[in-house]
Every structure is written in structure tokens, then in C-alpha cells.
């Protein structure tokens, strides 16, 4: 397990914390946040290469705050792999074996060679062992870096944006490797990224770090559906954040500034709230064609259409700016174009309310 107890860490004028976070044994946690949020500082503090200003750090229930990095048994993989360029792939991986055996090991001898072969097989680098790091692709480098970290038999594995320097295809393969290997080795993992899709693809638990503060922790689906505040909501891609007032005669009804209203599933938590609606939860209909039983429907004019892979992001004004995500096929069927009037509907359960700050 990994535990942060009121941890504070600083670099120059920027500081992170105090942070409290628990990652259970064998759990895959993702620390998600925008660039400059302080994610890497957290990892470096946990790894023991940066001193904490306050608080305690726990690994497998042991307090490691004062331990030097080499005695923490925490693996660290950086974005660019950072393979030692003067060593072959095999020698890079074997570097970690020295500690796991408690002494310098000649990796060509058993059992070190067996462990090396096993790791190479697990991460798919068997055919790369004699190569030099400079000749490897980004994805291959990350696999080797992962094997090297695993060779030292860490109690926890820290990954700093491990997929951001690899191409899309290699990224998906690496995600599979990370998922499989972390399960096989029963590893506790703390993975840092700014990429939402990467986080939700891998995480058992997600923690949101914004401006050095931990804003929310929970299962990915919960964090996605019920963001704790506006900053989290916007970072997670909930593009519709609407300021509204509670209807005092109906606590499940929010009044927008434009005179329109939206119904929510639970009583509104404050008199003034921000309503969060994800674009994919917003449905688009031809004007006047929305189902009569839809609890929330807004009339809007299309002002922008952006093709995103197989989907189209529809920008509309109601007159409040709103965005909906529809499949490209649905956009074709609706003959969407700028200037067209449409109706937007959203289920009450898909409108999340947070107290306005």
C-alpha cells in the first residue's frame, strides 16, 4: 500500500499539499491533473529523491519518510524511460536485479538470468536484450524501463506519465502490459498522468490534483459523473458548467439565468449552484421533435460543429453556450449545420449539481 499523511512538498515557490491519499495493496491508482499541478513532485517525494516539507509517507504500512531512496523499495518509471544509455537493454534490466538479490549479481548466472528472462517475457522485450537504448522506439523503451523497475522487486511502483512519449498504437499495447503486469506481480501502482482517457482506462482509483491540491478521490466513474468542483468538472471534459439558482418552491429544479430551468435527480445542495452536464449526455433533436416526456429540454441554435473521430461536437447557444457530443451518423441524420435550430434534452440523472464557489 501507499499512504500520504498530510504530505507537503515544494519546488521553488510552488508547493503541493498537504495531501492525504491511500492506495490499497495491489490497487492501481492514477493521480490525474493538468500540467503543472504538482504530480511529479508527489512521485519524487514518494520515491525519496525529493525531501518532503511536512507529513509522513507510508509504503506497506512502514513509515519511509526518512528513508533514503535506495532503501524504500519503490520503483520509478519516467515519461521518457531514462534507460541508462551506456548499458545494453539486458544490463539496464539487470541493474535492478542487484538490489533484489542484496548484492551485485552477474545476471548471466542463474537464478538472476532466469528472473531476467521471466521479466523480459512478461513485458515483451525478449528480442531486445542485446540492443542499445538509442536504437529502441518510445514504446520499447518504456517496456524496458518497466522491466528494470520490476527487477528490483519494488513494494510499490510509481509511473510518471509513462505513456505520453509513445505513439497511439504502442500506447494501447503498453496499457495492456501495465494492466497485466501489475495484476500478475500484485503491485501497488501510483500512475501520474494528465490524460483522462489513459487514467480511466487503467485506474481502480482516481485522484484529482489541481494547483497542488487534491480535489477529489474515488472510482473513475464516480469522479467522472460527480466532479467535486468546477475545476475538476472542466478538467474532466464536462464542457457544460452552468451557474443556476435553486427554485425555492422545488429543490430539484434549477433556474438558469436565461429563464430556462433544468430538473435534477437529487435535491440541490445550495441556493446557488453550478450544474455540470457532460456533452455526451446531451441529446440533440430537430426543433420540435424532442420526446414530449423529456424532463429537460432547451431550444438552441447550432453555432459550431467540430468533427472528433467518429463523433461531432455540437456547439449551440440557448442563449447560454452549450455543447453536445453526437455520433457522426446522428449528425448526418439530423442534417446539422451552423444556424440550424435544434432541441437539446438531458436526463435529470445526468445533471450534476455542485455548490457554487
Amino acid at each position: 500500500m501507499i499512504g500520504l499523511r498530510g504530505m507537503e512538498v515544494a519546488a521553488g515557490d510552488f508547493s503541493v499539499g498537504p495531501l492525504d491519499l491511500d492506495v490499497a495493496a495491489g490497487e492501481y491508482a492514477v493521480l490525474l491533473g493538468p500540467s503543472g499541478a504538482g504530480k511529479t513532485l508527489v512521485l519524487e517525494a514518494l520515491a525519496g529523491v525529493r525531501r518532503v516539507r511536512a507529513g509522513r509517507l507510508l509504503v506497506d504500512e512502514a513509515d519511509v519518510t526518512e528513508l533514503p531512496a535506495e532503501r524504500r523499495r519503490v520503483g520509478l518509471v519516467f515519461q521518457d524511460g531514462l534507460l541508462f544509455p551506456h548499458l545494453s537493454v539486458a544490463d539496464n534490466v539487470a541493474y535492478g536485479l542487484h538490489r533484489s538479490n542484496g548484492e551485485r549479481t552477474r545476471w548471466r548466472r542463474r537464478p538472476a538470468a532466469d528472473r531476467l528472462g521471466q521479466l523480459a517475457g512478461e513485458v515483451g522485450i525478449t528480442q531486445l536484450m542485446e540492443r542499445r537504448p538509442a536504437t529502441l522506439s518510445g514504446g520499447e523503451r518504456q517496456r524496458v524501463a518497466l522491466a528494470r523497475a520490476l527487477a528490483a522487486r519494488p513494494r510499490a511502483l510509481l509511473l510518471d506519465e509513462p505513456l505520453s512519449a509513445v505513439d497511439v498504437e504502442a500506447r494501447e499495447e503498453l496499457q495492456d502490459v501495465l494492466r497485466r503486469v501489475s495484476r500478475q506481480e500484485g503491485l501497488t501502482v501510483l500512475h501520474v498522468t494528465h490524460d483522462r482517457a489513459e487514467a480511466f482506462a487503467l485506474a481502480d482509483t482516481c485522484a484529482l490534483l489541481v494547483d497542488g491540491t487534491l480535489r477529489q478521490t474515488g472510482r473513475p466513474a464516480d469522479v467522472l459523473r460527480r466532479p467535486a468542483d468546477e475545476a475538476v468538472a472542466r478538467f474532466l471534459g464536462a464542457r457544460n458548467v452552468l451557474r443556476a439558482a435553486r427554485d425555492e418552491s422545488d429543490p430539484r429544479r434549477a433556474l438558469l439565468g436565461t429563464g430556462a430551468a433544468l430538473r435534477v435527480a437529487d435535491p440541490l445542495p445550495a441556493a446557488t449552484i453550478d450544474l455540470v452536464v457532460r456533452p455526451e449526455d446531451m441529446e440533440v433533436w430537430p426543433a420540435g421533435a424532442a420526446p414530449a416526456d423529456a424532463v429537460n429540454h432547451l431550444t438552441a441554435t447550432v453555432v459550431r460543429l467540430v468533427l472528433q473521430g467518429g463523433h461531432v461536437l455540437v456547439g449551440a447557444e440557448s442563449p447560454t453556450p452549450l455543447e453536445a457530443l453526437v455520433t457522426a451518423r446522428r449528425a448526418d441524420d439530423l442534417a446539422l449545420r451552423v444556424g440550424v435550430e435544434v432541441e437539446l434534452t438531458v436526463a435529470a440523472a445526468c445533471v450534476h449539481a455542485i455548490p457554487a464557489t
Partner: protein, 268 residues
């Protein structure tokens, strides 16, 4: 239009560069060519020149070795850590570069001479810096130390510190990470600094002549012959040391070049 400007610009660069290269090469080439093989043979047959050459080369080597032992850790410290007074220390290390070398000799004499603090302190141990090899080494060390420390510091700074972070998490102590990860990536730069320092050491005259006129290093011997017997007599030792220095530089560059070749290929 812009292409023409560019070509004029590059032409100006080439002309300026050619002038500078000629300025450096001409005196050395003129001396070596003018001397010819006969003069070189004559130099090698003279005992005092051979002794002086050996003394110069070995004293510069000892000075470089001492600087390596104490200067490389300092260079690493300066490259990796921020601390109060760091800028001041960097300035102090560079001070010998701006010191007139005869003034450096005088300064060393006031500390390490017979009446100097260190001179008096070390005299009972039989260590003297005036008119001794130790004095020559001391003078060479003082004036050429910045070449090694500065080059090594810059080289260490170019090695990403996160390599050491990774090595530490893999079980290496800070010293182990330095020896097994950082130094293997930086050794060419450190060697380059050492060669520069050695080269600066063998050419030292001002500080050496103040501290230890005897035994004579080759620069002092050349000066003495020139003063006493003229240009013809001064040429053999001068030619010899230029050739030795040139050969050492060629060998050192051959060792350093493979990395440059690889990096060009990597970029391609």
C-alpha cells in the same frame, strides 16, 4: 533576396573563421616546418631537453591527477546542488584564468614560499615549493585547475539528474549512482577537461618561473636558451613540446570523437 543575404552571411563567417585558424596555425607550422627533422633529432639528443620534457609532461600530469581527485567532486557538487555561496565558489575557481600568471606565481610564493604560511607549516615535513618539482606542480595546478573543473561541471550538468533518481530507486547509493550511471555518461567531457588542463599546464611559464626556476620545465628552458643564445638555440625545445602537445591532443580527440559521430547519427 533572403537566400543571397544568407550566403553572404555564411561567407563572412567562413572568412572570419579562416583568418582565425590561420592566425593559430601559422606560427606553430612555421616553427615546426622551419625546424625540420634535423632540429627535432638534435633536440632529442640533448640531455637537458629530454630531462626538461619529461619533467614538464610528468609535472602537468601530476597536477591534472590532483585536480581530478579534488576537482571532479567539486564540479559534480556545483552541477547538482544549489547552496549559499555557490556563485562565489564558481568565481573563485575561475579566478586563475584572469590572474596574470607572474602575479599568480608571486601570490603562490607568499603562501607556499619559505616565509609563507603553508611553506613554514610544511617545511618540517620536508616539503618545499621553491625550486622543486612540487613547486612546479603547484604552479601548474593553480593556473590550469579551472579548465578541468569548469568542463567537468558543464558535462555533469548535461546528464539528466533523473538518471540518478532511477538508479537510487534501483538500490544505488548516491555515490553508486554517480559512479555507475552519471560518470559513465560524462567521462568524455571530464577527460576533455583533463586534457585541456594538462595542455595548459605544460605551457605554463609565468607562475612556474617565479616559484621554481629550477629544475627547468621546457618553457623556462626555451626562454633561458632564447635569452642566452638566441632563436636558433631556443627552437629545439619549443618544437619538441609543440609536437608532444599536438600528438596528445590528437589522441585525446580521437577518443572523444566517437561520441560526436554517434550523436550526429542519432539526430539523423
Amino acid at each position: 533576396m533572403s537566400g543571397r543575404r544568407l550566403s553572404l552571411f555564411w561567407a563572412a563567417c567562413v572568412v572570419a573563421g579562416a583568418l582565425l585558424v590561420a592566425f593559430v596555425v601559422l606560427p606553430a607550422a612555421s616553427m615546426v616546418v622551419g625546424a625540420g627533422a634535423g632540429l627535432l633529432g638534435e633536440a632529442l639528443r640533448q640531455d637537458d631537453i629530454r630531462r626538461s620534457l619529461w619533467l614538464t609532461v610528468s609535472a602537468a600530469l601530476i597536477a591534472t591527477a590532483i585536480a581530478f581527485v579534488v576537482g571532479v567532486p567539486l564540479a559534480y557538487l556545483l552541477a547538482r546542488r544549489d547552496f549559499v555561496g555557490k556563485r562565489a565558489i564558481e568565481g573563485i575557481i575561475d579566478l586563475p584564468i584572469v590572474f596574470p600568471h607572474t602575479a599568480a606565481g608571486i601570490a603562490l610564493l607568499t603562501v607556499y614560499g619559505r616565509e609563507g604560511v603553508m611553506g613554514r607549516l610544511l617545511a618540517p615535513l620536508g616539503i618545499s615549493f621553491t625550486e622543486t618539482v612540487a613547486g612546479i606542480v603547484l604552479a601548474m595546478l593553480f593556473v590550469s585547475l579551472p579548465f578541468l573543473v569548469d568542463t567537468a561541471r558543464e558535462t555533469f550538468a548535461l546528464v539528466d539528474e533523473r538518471y540518478e533518481y532511477v538508479a537510487r530507486t534501483l538500490g544505488s547509493s548516491p555515490g553508486g549512482a554517480f559512479l555507475r550511471v552519471t560518470f559513465p555518461q560524462a567521462w568524455r567531457g571530464v577527460l576533455s577537461g583533463a586534457v585541456l588542463m594538462w595542455g595548459r599546464g605544460i605551457s605554463e611559464f609565468g607562475a612556474v618561473v617565479i616559484l621554481a626556476y629550477n629544475p627547468k620545465v621546457i618553457s623556462v628552458l626555451t626562454f633561458e636558451r632564447f635569452e642566452g643564445f638566441g632563436l636558433r638555440a631556443a627552437q629545439p625545445p619549443a618544437v619538441l613540446i609543440v609536437i608532444v602537445a599536438f600528438v596528445v591532443f590528437l589522441v585525446a580527440r580521437a577518443v572523444l570523437l566517437p561520441r560526436r559521430g554517434r550523436s550526429r547519427k542519432d539526430r539523423a
